[in-house]
Symmetry: C2
Subunit: 363 residues, 2 copies
C-alpha cells in the first residue's frame, strides 16, 4: 500500500504526517532538518526497544547520525514528572544539545513525555513522533499538546510544542493487543461525531473488518482521522476555539480515569464512556434524539467497548473530579455535546446535576 | 522619585517594566488583563511573605481578587524540579485555572520557578515578576527565559515564556544584604561592557554612592540596565542572535558555579569572575588591550567582588563543565568576548586550552 501525507498547517512550524505500512524504515531519510552527525535519541520502552528501537538506531547510525536508545517506561501510569526526570538525566548524560533530536517511539505516554522533555530541555530541542498504538497514531502524536499528569488530574503539566514530523507505521498495529485496538476505535468515533458522517457510517458497517485489522480499512480510518485533526489544529492550535471540540467525551472521560484510578480504564475506554454520557446529557436537554445515542452506543458495543461507568464508582465523585480538570473556565466546566452526526457544540451551561444524571442514566 | 516605564517590544506579547520606589503598592491596579475576581497566587519565600507577601495579598483581596500566598524556598539551590513540583501541588490544591495569575515575589530563583510552572501549568497561565533582589531586578525577571537547574548543569530545563508585567520596587533594595547588592553590580557591569560606555563610567566614578544605596544613582543604573535588556530581547527573543551577548561572563560563570557546587558562589559572583576570564581570553588573542581588563577588574574590586576562581578549583574541571552547558552548538562552546567598552563579539573559535589558560592567568 502506498504512503499518504497530510500537512499540519502552522506556518513556519508546519509539519507532515506520513502514514503507510513499514514507513518506519524511511525515518533516517526524512530528517533533513538535522545537521550532519547530529545526536538522535530514540526514546522507547524496554519492550519496544527489542521490536523497533534497536533497528531504528541501526538505520540512523548508518545514515551518519549519533543515534542511541533512551529507555523509559510506557503506559498511562508513567506520564509523570518522575519519568520526565529520568529522561532529562539520560539527555544530560549523553550530552544532548540544542541541535539534537528526540524520537518518541511508543504509545501516547511516551509521546507526551518526549514532547514535554523536548520542549523544556535547554528550552527546546526538535522531536519526531513515531506512535506505535492506534490511539497515539490517530490522536496523541498529532498537535503538540504535550503534557504529563499530576496525581490529582490528567495533563495538568504541559505545553504546546509541535513535532518536526509524525511517522505513522500502520504495520505496527499488526501486533497491537486487542484492547488497545478497541481504545483507538473510540477516538476515531470521536472524529466521526465531530466532523465526519462518512467515517461514522464506516464504523457502523465495517467493524468486523476493522477488528480483524484489514490493512486497507484501517489505513483509511487513520488517514481520515489524521486529516480531521490536522485541519482542526491548523485552525486553532491551542484549543481555545474549534479544536476544543476534540474534547468530546473527554471531559467525562478524564474524570472517569481519575476517579477509577489511572490504569484501570485506558484513556480511550474512558473516552468511550464519556461520549455516551455527553450524548445522554444532550439528549436529556432535547439537543439530540435518542436514535443518535443508540447508533453511537451500537458502534462502541460492536467494538467491544464498555458504554457505562463501572458500578462501584460514585457519579458525584466523577463530577467533582471534572472541576479539577483543565476544561474549567471561570469556574464553569466545558462540555462538548453532539447535536447530530458531524455536529457538536461547545457549552459551559450544563450543571453538575445534569452531568451526574447523565452518568447515572447510562448505567 | 517618580516611576519609569520601559516596554519589552514583542508584538502581542509586549509588556511593561515599571521601576520606582514603593511601586509594589500599585500592583492590583495594573492587573487589568485579568478577569474580575480571578485567582492570584503570590508565590514567595516564608521570609518575604512576612515583609511583602501578606501585604500584597491584602491589597489584591481589597481589589476583588481571590488572592493567596504560595510558599516555596528561594535561593539558587532551590531552582529545581522538586521546588516546581511543590508549586504544582499548591496550584492544584487551590484549583488554579487557566485564567488565574501567579506573581513571583522574590529573587531570581523564585522568578524562574514561577515562570516555569506558569508556562507549564495547564499549558500556560499568566504571571507577573516582582523581583526583590538587584540581580533579579536588572536581569532574571526580564525576558521570559525561565528555567531550572539539573544537578549536572544550570538552566538545563526551561522554556521561553514572557511575563505580563515586571514591577521593580527599588525600595526593596534598602534591606538587601550587601553580598546580594554586589552580585547585582556584576550584572550591571555586564550591560555596560556589552552596550553602554556611560554606564561603565558611572560604575567607575560612583561606586561609593552605589554601595551606600543612593536611591537616585541606583535607580538610574536599574533603569539603564532594564532598557538595554528590553532592547536586546525585542531584537532577539530566544537568544540565538544578539541577545546571546548577555552571556558575557556567563559561559565561564555557569561552569564555575557548577564546579564549586551551587551556593558557594552566587550567580552574580561567578559571572564577575567569568567576565574577568573572558576578557583575559580576548586579551591573550590581542582582541582587546590590558587597559580594559584593568578597568573592568577595578570596578569589580571596588564593588567588593572576587576577580579570580577559588584556588581549590581545577581549571580543567571548569572547562569540562562548559561542555555540559546550554551554550554548546555543534560541539563548540560559545564565548562572548569584549573588544571594547560597549562592544562584544560572539565567538565559537576559542579552544578549551585558551579557556583554561585564561582561568589560570586570572589567579
Amino acid at each position: 500500500m502506498s504512503e499518504r501525507e497530510t500537512t499540519v498547517p502552522l506556518g513556519d512550524r508546519s509539519y507532515q504526517l506520513v502514514i503507510g505500512r513499514d514507513i518506519r524504515r524511511e525515518l533516517a531519510g526524512r530528517l533533513d532538518f538535522l545537521g550532519d552527525g547530529a545526536k538522535v535519541a530514540v526514546v522507547t520502552s524496554p519492550e519496544l526497544r527489542r521490536v523497533y528501537g534497536d533497528e531504528a538506531v541501526e538505520r540512523l547510525s548508518k545514515a551518519g547520525f549519533q543515534a542511541w536508545v533512551a529507555e523509559i517506561p510506557d503506559g498511562p501510569g508513567h506520564k509523570t514528572l518522575a519519568t520526565a526526570s529520568l529522561l532529562y538525566d539520560q539527555f544530560v548524560e549523553r550530552r544532548m544539545e540544542r541541535g539534537s533530536l528526540a524520537i518518541a517511539l511508543g504509545g501516547g505516554a511516551i509521546g507526551d513525555v518526549v514532547g514535554f522533555v523536548s520542549a523544556t530541555y535547554m528550552r527546546g530541542i526538535s522531536y519526531v513522533q513515531m506512535p506505535t498504538t492506534l490511539i497515539a497514531q490517530v490522536d496523541a502524536s498529532i498537535g503538540g499538546m504535550v503534557s504529563i499528569d499530576h496525581s490529582k488530574g490528567k495533563n495538568l503539566i504541559g505545553v504546546f510544542y509541535q513535532p518536526k514530523l509524525v511517522l505513522i507505521d500502520v504495520a505496527m498495529l499488526d501486533s497491537l493487543p486487542d484492547r488497545q485496538l478497541r481504545a483507538g476505535i473510540a477516538e476515531i468515533l470521536r472524529y466521526a461525531v465531530i466532523a465526519a458522517p462518512h467515517l461514522f457510517e464506516t464504523l457502523e458497517i465495517r467493524m468486523e473488518a476493522i477488528l480483524s485489522r484489514d490493512p486497507q480499512v484501517l489505513t483509511a480510518l487513520i488517514v481520515d482521522s489524521c486529516a480531521i485533526k490536522a485541519h482542526l489544529i491548523g485552525q486553532d492550535e491551542t484549543g481555545r476555539g474549534v479544536r476544543a471540540t476534540l474534547y468530546y467525551g473527554h471531559t467525562f472521560g478524564h474524570a472517569i480515569e481519575a476517579v477509577t484510578g489511572y490504569g484501570r480504564l485506558s484513556h480511550g475506554e474512558a473516552a468511550a464512556i464519556g461520549m455516551v454520557c455527553a450524548a445522554e446529557m444532550a439528549r436529556e436537554r432535547g439537543m439530540i434524539g435518542s436514535e443518535f445515542c443508540d447508533r453511537q452506543r451500537g458502534i462502541l458495543q460492536a467494538a467491544g467497548l464498555a458504554t457505562s461507568c463501572p458500578g462501584d464508582v460514585d457519579a458525584g465523585e466523577i463530577v467533582d473530579a471534572m472541576a479539577l480538570d483543565e476544561n474549567v473556565v471561570g469556574g464553569r466546566i466545558r462540555f462538548i455535546v453532539p447535536t447530530g452526526v458531524g455536529a457538536t457544540e461547545i457549552r459551559y451551561d450544563f450543571s453538575s446535576d445534569e452531568a451526574e444524571r447523565a452518568i447515572t442514566a447510562t448505567r
